[in-house]
C-alpha cells in the first residue's frame, strides 16, 4: 500500500517543508499553552469539563468524517463505537484495574474491528444499507451490554477516578489533556489521509466508483480501511468518558444524541476537508454548552436538528464550503 506518500502536485524542497512544519508545531504549542492558561484562569473544574465535551466532539466529528466525508458513507452508529470505548474502560477497570492510558489502545482495536466487520457485511451493498446496519448494530450492542451484569447491566457502573494526576494537577485537567491530544491527533490523521493516496483513492471512489476500480483502486479495501480507522477513533473518544462522568449506563453510552451531534457537526462545518468537522464541532459544541447552562438541555437537540436540516438543504458544502464559495466569487 502506497498510502504514506505525499500526494500534493507541487513538490517543494525538503528544508522548506521542515521549516513550515516546525513553524506549525510552534504555533500549535503556543495555542495549547494559552488554552490551558485560559481554562486555569476561570479557576473552576467546570471549565475543563465543558472544554472536554467540545474537544470530544472534535474527535468524534473528525472520526465520522473520515468515512462520511471522504468516502461518502453515513454512519448512524457513532454511539455504538463510542460505547465500545466506554465499556472497554469499565471492563478493564473492573477486571484488571487498568489505568486509562493503557485502556486506550485496547478500545481502539476493538472499535476498529467492529467497524471492519460492519463494513465487510454491508459496504458491498448500497450506501443506505450501511447506514441502517450501523443503526442496528448500536441496538444489538446496547442489548448485549444491558444484559451483561459484569459491567453493570442496565443499572450502570461506577468508576472511581483518582483525585489528581502528577504533572497534570486535577483529574479533569488530565482528562482534558488526553482528549485534546487525541483530537489533535485525529485532525492530523485526517489531514494526512486527505493528502495521501488513501484520501485520493477515496475521493476517486466517491466521484466515480467504477472508474476508480478501473484505475486499479481497490475500492472495498480502501473503504474498509476508512471504516476501521473511523471506528477506532470513535472508540478512543468513548474510552475516557466513564472517568469523565464517573458513572456510565447503557442509555447514556449508546444515546442517539451522540449520533446526531456527530453527524451534524461535519455536515454543518463542511465534509470536504479536515477543517469542516473542527469548525462544526466548535460551533455546535460551544452553542450547546451555552444553551445547557442558560436554557435547557432538551432544546439542544432541537437546535442540532434544525441546523442540520437547514445546512444539508441550503448549504450542502457546509460553512467551510460556503466561505470558500464566497472567496472564489470575490476573486
Amino acid at each position: 500500500m502506497s498510502a504514506t506518500t505525499n500526494a500534493s502536485s507541487e513538490v517543494p524542497s525538503a528544508s522548506a517543508v521542515w521549516l513550515k512544519r516546525l513553524l506549525g508545531c510552534g504555533i500549535g504549542a503556543v495555542l495549547i499553552v494559552l488554552l490551558f492558561a485560559a481554562l486555569d484562569w476561570t479557576g473552576t473544574d467546570y471549565a475543563y469539563l465543558a472544554a472536554y465535551t467540545v474537544v470530544q466532539f472534535i474527535l468524534l466529528a473528525t472520526a465520522w468524517n473520515i468515512l462520511g466525508g471522504y468516502a461518502g458513507y453515513v454512519n448512524f452508529g457513532t454511539a455504538a463505537f463510542f460505547a465500545i470505548g466506554c465499556y472497554t474502560t469499565v471492563f478493564c477497570y473492573k477486571a484488571f484495574q487498568l489505568p486509562l492510558l493503557a485502556t486506550l489502545p485496547i478500545s481502539a482495536v476493538l472499535a476498529g474491528l467492529v467497524g471492519l466487520g460492519t463494513g465487510y457485511l454491508t459496504l458491498r451493498l448500497r450506501g443506505v444499507f450501511f447506514s441502517i446496519c450501523t443503526l442496528a448494530m448500536a441496538v444489538v450492542l446496547q442489548t448485549l451490554v444491558t444484559n451483561w451484569n459484569y459491567v453493570g447491566g442496565s443499572r450502570g457502573a461506577y468508576i472511581l477516578r483518582p483525585e489528581s494526576v502528577p504533572l497534570f494537577g486535577s483529574y479533569s485537567r488530565f482528562l482534558f489533556a488526553i482528549m485534546l491530544a487525541m483530537a489533535i491527533g485525529s485532525v492530523l490523521l485526517a489531514r494526512h489521509i486527505e493528502r495521501t493516496w488513501l484520501g485520493r483513492g477515496l475521493a476517486a471512489i466517491r466521484d466515480e466508483e467504477l472508474a476508480a476500480e478501473s484505475s486499479g483502486v481497490p475500492a472495498l479495501r480502501l473503504k474498509l480501511i476508512a471504516t476501521s480507522l473511523s471506528g477506532a477513533l470513535m472508540g478512543l473518544a468513548g474510552t475516557p468518558f466513564p472517568y469523565f462522568i464517573t458513572y456510565v449506563d447503557p442509555t447514556t453510552a449508546f444515546s442517539l444524541n451522540i449520533a446526531v451531534n456527530t453527524i451534524a457537526m461535519p455536515l454543518i462545518g463542511g465534509t470536504a476537508t479536515w477543517l469542516g468537522p473542527v469548525v462544526g464541532a466548535l460551533l455546535l459544541g460551544i452553542i450547546q454548552q451555552w444553551v445547557t447552562v442558560t436554557i435547557s438541555s432538551s432544546l439542544n437537540l432541537m437546535i442540532v436538528g434544525v441546523l442540520l436540516v437547514l445546512f444539508v438543504a441550503v448549504a450542502p458544502n457546509g460553512m467551510v464550503g460556503f466561505v470558500q464559495g464566497l472567496r472564489r466569487r470575490k476573486a
Binding site: S2, N6, R200, A203, A204, D207, E208, A211, E213
Partner: protein
C-alpha cells in the same frame, strides 16, 4: 499465427433476466494487435467489455489473459495485470484536477510510490494524449474531445498491455476523430494491443487489422475489415434483408 493470444475469451455468456445479452461468444486478441469490435446498437458490445473488465460476472465461459484465467478477478485486479479501458460516457473524477486524475492509476494500478516520479509520469502521459496544457484544470471545464482524451490518458496511466477504447469518438467531428485515431495508432506503436469499439465505420476500417462483428449477442464474423464488410451476414445485420 504462432504466438499465443494475449486475450482469449471462450464461450462467454451473460443473461439479464430472460434476456440473453451474450451467447457463447469467443474472442481472441494477439499481442500488439488492433481489433475493431462492431455491431448494431444493443448487440452486446458493451456487455462484452464489461465481462472482459470484470464489471459483470459471467454466466458461462471464461476469460484468459496472458495465460492465466481471470474470470473471477475483481475489476481493479484486472487493471493491475494490464487491462485498461476508457468509458463510453466520460467518467472523470470530478473533484480532482486533470493531472491528479491521471495520477490515480499510476499510484494504484502501476504501484508507483514516489510523488515526483508519479507527477513526472502523469505529465508525460498528458503530453502523449495532448492534454498537457490543461494539467491543472478541473474536468468540468474540459471540452468533449478533451474529456475523451482524459479517458484515454487515465486508461493509459495504468500501463496496460490491452486497451479497450469504448466508443471514444462518438459525437466528435471528423478532425477530432482523426486526432483520437492518431493517439491510438501511436499507443499501438508502443506495443499496446487495442480493442476499438466504434460505430464510425470510417475509423474502424482505417484502424483495425481485424474486425469482429456482434449481432444480438453472438459473434457472426471475424476477419480482415474488407472481408468482414463484404460478408453477406454482416450486410444483412446492418442493412437488414
Amino acid at each position: 499465427m504462432t504466438t499465443a493470444p494475449l486475450l482469449k475469451m471462450t464461450g462467454v455468456t451473460k443473461r439479464f433476466g430472460g434476456f440473453t445479452a451474450l451467447d457463447t461468444v469467443d474472442l481472441e486478441l494477439y499481442p500488439n494487435e488492433r481489433l475493431g469490435l462492431i455491431g448494431p446498437n444493443g448487440s452486446g458490445k458493451s456487455t462484452l467489455v464489461n465481462c472482459l473488465t470484470g464489471v459483470y460476472r459471467l454466466d458461462g465461459g471464461s476469460v484468459v489473459f496472458n495465460g492465466s484465467d481471470i474470470s473471477s478477478f475483481d475489476i481493479h485486479s484486472r487493471t493491475r495485470i494490464g487491462i485498461a479501458r476508457s468509458f463510453q460516457i466520460p467518467r472523470p473524477f470530478k473533484g480532482l484536477t486533470v493531472v491528479q486524475n491521471i495520477e490515480v492509476p499510476l499510484a494504484f494500478a502501476v504501484g508507483m510510490t514516489h510523488q515526483r516520479e508519479i507527477a513526472d509520469a502523469a505529465h508525460a502521459i498528458l503530453k502523449e494524449v495532448g492534454l498537457n496544457a490543461k494539467a491543472d484544470a478541473m474536468p468540468r471545464v474540459l471540452s468533449q474531445v478533451e474529456l475523451r482524451k482524459l479517458e484515454l490518458g487515465r486508461a493509459l496511466a495504468a500501463r496496460p498491455k490491452l486497451l479497450v477504447a469504448d466508443e471514444s469518438m462518438a459525437g466528435l467531428s471528423d478532425s477530432e476523430v482523426d486526432e483520437i485515431l492518431e493517439v491510438l495508432f501511436r499507443l499501438n506503436g508502443e506495443g499496446i494491443s487495442i480493442i476499438l469499439i466504434e460505430h464510425i465505420m470510417r475509423a474502424v476500417n482505417r484502424f483495425s487489422q481485424r474486425v469482429a462483428v456482434l449481432v444480438a449477442g453472438a459473434k457472426i464474423a471475424d476477419g480482415p475489415p474488407k472481408e468482414v464488410m463484404a460478408h453477406p451476414e454482416v450486410e444483412r445485420a446492418y442493412l437488414g434483408q
